[in-house]
């Protein structure tokens, strides 16, 4: 097996494992917490024909789908980021552009999915839900890409810095 393939599997494999960890954290921690917020502190009032329970189930379902999409975007960043520099474009700023592309891909997908899938409500529940979706996407995508991006693009994500300095 060539060095490139071995290195690719090593770096993107590690990245994928950490992404899975953050995704599970989001699915079983964050989304549950957000559901609790909606249940106990911010009672959503859906429009006629929809119960609060149905709205919450929808919120959880969309949240899970969007978390998985964010995880896929993160892995997509790792794969494309790894191969980006294998074609001798070192002076290019495209590494950061690529990172932003995947990031906004995850964020915009969350935004539009939330817009299209949400049941109508009488208050600002859907706006808060959208905020949570975005937060979930950021929490999956950003820390993983800051800490575990492939070596050649490890500082392309915003605020990525050497740990040991």
């Amino acid at each position: 097996m060539s060095y490139a393939i071995k290195s690719f599997l090593k770096q993107t494999g590690a990245f994928a494992l950490v992404t899975i960890f953050f995704t599970l954290l989001t699915l079983y921690g964050l989304i549950t917490l957000e559901s609790l917020i909606f249940e106990d502190y911010f009672s959503v009032v859906p429009k006629a024909g929809t119960t609060q329970q149905e709205w919450l189930e929808n919120f959880n379902f969309v949240g899970v789908v969007l978390a998985l999409v964010a995880a896929l975007c993160a892995v997509g960043w790792a794969i494309t980021g790894y191969w980006f520099y294998r074609i001798k474009r070192w002076k290019s700023t495209g590494g950061r552009f690529l990172w932003l592309l995947w990031f906004f891909g995850a964020a915009l997908f969350s935004f539009f999915t939330a817009m299209l899938s949400a049941f109508e409500v009488q208050d600002s529940g859907n706006i808060l839900a959208m905020g949570f979706y975005l937060l979930n996407a950021i929490i999956i995508y950003w820390p993983v890409s800051i800490l575990f991006s492939p070596a050649s693009v490890k500082y392309a994500p915003y605020f990525a810095r050497p740990v040991s300095v």
Partner: protein, 498 residues
């Protein structure tokens, strides 16, 4: 152990040039690698000497900025303050003045007239001994003084210090047998050094070796000068000199003698009696001479009385197996240095310059790891250690390309020998229509894996892998050592073969 190398004349200077590159490739043996260099030439403006001197300056300037341990340029190369010793002074610039001909007694004047022609007495020697060793031998023997003149005194003191501390020293002399300065200086300096070492209490701790360069190039005859070296005389001069060495047992003054030459005496591009114009391109024979010094330095004992012979397998080709390489390091080390120079010149230095100009250091993670630190000034590093390294790398790859080019004197895909330099150097024509080798403005990055022949693509990493490894490295940097830590790491990684 410390090593001394003395290059006598233009060819000697070119041999030292090769030795500096071999030292940079880490081929000088031992742990505490020290190499002391001295040039001997009455023609201080000689172009070949100037190029070798400039190379030495670049090497020592880069090394002076080293901080902490070194992988790249690990041999400490030094020279005297005046790195060129000339046996002539400004006033005594011809043989007549040198011996004070005008004040000699009449009988001595007549004897002198028998030994030397009018031209030999009166021609200015500021461009060397012009292929007349009889002039050089007189001047060298009279001017050489280990006790009173620098830099000889300094060399003497250094060697005495080494021996008194129980260490050994080795001196290697380089000179051509067929010219003027080398042919006259080589035996004279060897004999005088031997006499001095013989008087030391532990003289056996200092060995003297010599590399005599037999003819390996020729040149067009220079018009308008009466006293000059002529290529047509080279073989005859060589035959006479070798006969002299044999009969007088001059070679026995040396602990080890190497005779290096080539029967393929191709014309050099520029023909000149001396001065700046006498700058001949590097030649593969000089690399072999440098390797002879490496061999001598690595020998445990004196090789007096032993005779070894190596030759090329094919008269018009040169392969790595033709080169003396007892420890199997020559090809590996030169490959590492070549890869380093190529990568540094084509990718890393331009990237650092680009980051300094345009920012966005995140493009090169190794930049953030090594340079984006408190107290590290990239601008000053680019003006000093990185710039010296760049200059050295340029000198090295150009030298290597010329070594390859000198084997056949043309570029032909079918007859490549040691390296394929076409990715970083190209053939150009000078104003006289003569071809020479110059560095390309843009290197062909895809060829990185295939510079050293035979093709090593399968087990040598490409630039992408090198870049990735640089980005993955975890530097342990002390203050002020960022640039050298970066250089050393890049150099180390260029030696990794999968």
């Amino acid at each position: 152990m410390s090593f001394y190398a003395i290059g006598i004349g233009g060819t000697g200077a070119k041999c030292l040039e090769s030795l500096i590159h071999l030292a940079a490739a880490g081929l000088i043996p031992g742990h505490d690698k020290k190499l002391y260099l001295l040039f001997v030439d009455p023609d201080g403006s000689n172009g070949s000497l100037a190029r070798a001197g400039k190379l030495l300056e670049t090497y020592t300037s880069a090394q002076a900025k080293q901080f902490g341990g070194a992988d790249f340029l690990d041999t400490k190369v030094r020279s005297a303050k005046d790195r060129v010793w000339s046996p002539l002074s400004q006033q005594n610039n011809n043989l007549g003045n040198f011996v004070n001909y005008g004040t000699l007694e009449t009988d001595l004047q007549h004897l002198f007239d028998v030994l030397y022609s009018k031209e030999e007495k009166e021609t200015s020697l500021d461009k060397g001994f012009r292929g007349h060793p009889s002039i050089g031998a007189t001047v060298m023997a009279a001017a050489f003084d280990l006790e009173a003149s620098e830099p000889w005194q300094q060399i003497k003191n250094n060697i005495e210090l080494e021996i008194n501390n129980g260490r050994k020293a080795k001196i290697m002399l380089f000179g051509s047998i067929f010219g003027g300065t080398g042919a006259s200086g080589f035996p004279t300096i060897a004999r005088l050094l031997r006499n001095w070492i013989g008087m030391l209490p532990d003289g056996s701790a200092c060995l003297i070796g010599g590399t005599l360069m037999l003819p390996y190039f020729s040149f067009e005859t220079v018009g308008g000068e009466e006293l000059k070296a002529e290529a047509k005389d080279f073989l005859l001069n060589t035959q006479a000199a070798l006969q002299y060495y044999y009969q007088k047992e001059e070679i026995k003054e040396l602990d080890c003698t190497y005779l290096v030459g080539s029967d393929d005496s191709r014309q050099v591009r520029q023909t000149a009696i001396g001065g700046q114009e006498q700058e001949n391109e590097p030649h593969w024979v000089e690399m072999v001479a440098g390797l002879a010094a490496v061999d001598f330095f690595a020998q445990e004992h004196s090789a007096r009385g032993d005779y070894f012979l190596i030759a090329r397998e094919s008269p018009d080709r040169l392969s790595w197996t033709d080169l003396p390489d007892e420890h199997g390091k020559v090809k590996t080390n030169i490959l590492q240095l070549t890869r380093f120079a190529f990568a540094f010149l084509s990718t890393y230095m331009p990237m650092l310059e680009d980051i300094l100009a345009n920012g966005r250091g995140y493009r090169a993670p190794w930049y953030i790891d090594y340079f984006a630190r408190p107290g590290v000034d990239l601008r000053s590093s680019l003006q000093e250690e990185l710039r010296y390294t760049q200059t050295y790398c340029r000198d090295f790859v150009l030298w290597l390309a010329n070594v390859e080019y000198s084997v056949n004197g043309k570029i032909d895909d079918q007859i490549l020998n040691l390296i394929d330099f076409t990715s970083f150097a190209e053939e150009r024509e000078d104003k006289n229509g003569k071809r020479f080798i110059a560095l390309r403005k843009q290197f062909s990055l895809d060829a990185f894996q295939n510079i050293i022949l035979p093709n090593m693509k399968s087990d040598v990493a490409g630039l992408e892998v090198l870049w990735e490894r640089m980005c993955s490295s975890k530097p342990k940097i002390q203050s002020n050592s960022s640039a050298w830590a970066f250089i050393n790491q890049l150099y180390r990684l260029c030696g990794v073969v999968d």
